[in-house]
Symmetry: C2
Subunit: 146 residues, 2 copies
DNA sequence: TATTGTTATACTCTATAACTATA
DNA sequence: TATAGTTATAGAGTATAACAATA
């Protein structure tokens, strides 16, 4: 019977878990979860409806509703009703939220550097290309928030 | 500000998550969680105390106690008191448990093949070597059960 | 006294599904 | 009617910490 550690997936999960945990430790200090940060990061590039964010994160509308309420209560985002008293809402980062995203972007850059910075550029590029290709083959469903 | 997907860690987490989810889907059908299977797989190679298993899996003794009770109730493992009426117990796979591990080992082989089988042997070896090295640098704490 | 295992409790995260409000 | 968002509920999984038993 094959050993667990004879699989590529085993080592991939080891490193991915260590990477996630390292990020989580950083984020915990600031009272933000990984999921919350990814949501904020998505909203940095473009305002989004709650349902669109749910789609991006691979979560249910209910889960995102709760997430959005927490982020709004922390003054990270606003939930603005569309014009005309519509119930549909647009999620937008506040200035505070945008600042937080920038801070965490630096933390992410540093974490990536710590884990993978020692690799030759060619090697890095090769690995990213391979992983990208696997994601493409299998179809990316959502940003990995878990 | 850098994009999420400019990081190696991002793509690593994408693929690792897809891999974990693919495994979970297979395991769900059989009523076993990923954590349970990894526990069983650890016990296949050697009997272990509950506390040693907790150490291996990076879980608390309480969590493993619950896990062991479930596995024992499913007749996958036995919790044998050591000789002399000691309270310390040894966790051992039953014949059923050993059979289950062998079935899932095949499923894992197949999943790894599906995800990474298309890579050239050299490429596979390179990736494993790099990941292994990163784990070594950072110190492997536990088998990735989450 | 230190270690091992169990238990009770609580917490976090999420899904499900029923519900409300809108188009 | 279909869609968007909310809420209540429940379940999984785990940590914490108090506890019991043992060495």
């Amino acid at each position: 019977m094959s050993r667990l550690d004879s699989h590529v997936g085993y080592w991939l999960r080891c490193v991915a878990n260590q990477f996630s945990h390292a990020l989580n430790r950083e984020l915990e200090d600031k009272g933000v979860t990984l999921t919350e940060w990814i949501a904020l990061r998505e909203l940095y590039d473009t305002d989004m409806r709650s349902s669109a964010l749910a789609e991006r994160l691979g979560m249910t509308r209910g889960a995102v509703s709760k997430l959005a309420r927490k982020l709004a209560s922390n003054l990270m985002i606003t939930q603005q009703a569309s014009a005309g008293g519509s119930r549909a809402q647009m999620l937008s980062l506040t200035d505070d939220g945008r600042a937080v995203v920038r801070v965490f972007a630096v933390i992410l850059d540093q974490a990536d550097q710590e884990f993978f910075g020692h690799l030759e550029p060619d090697t890095r590029a090769l690995i990213v290309a391979i992983l990208r290709d696997i994601v493409r083959r299998r179809g990316l469903r959502a940003v990995p928030a878990d």
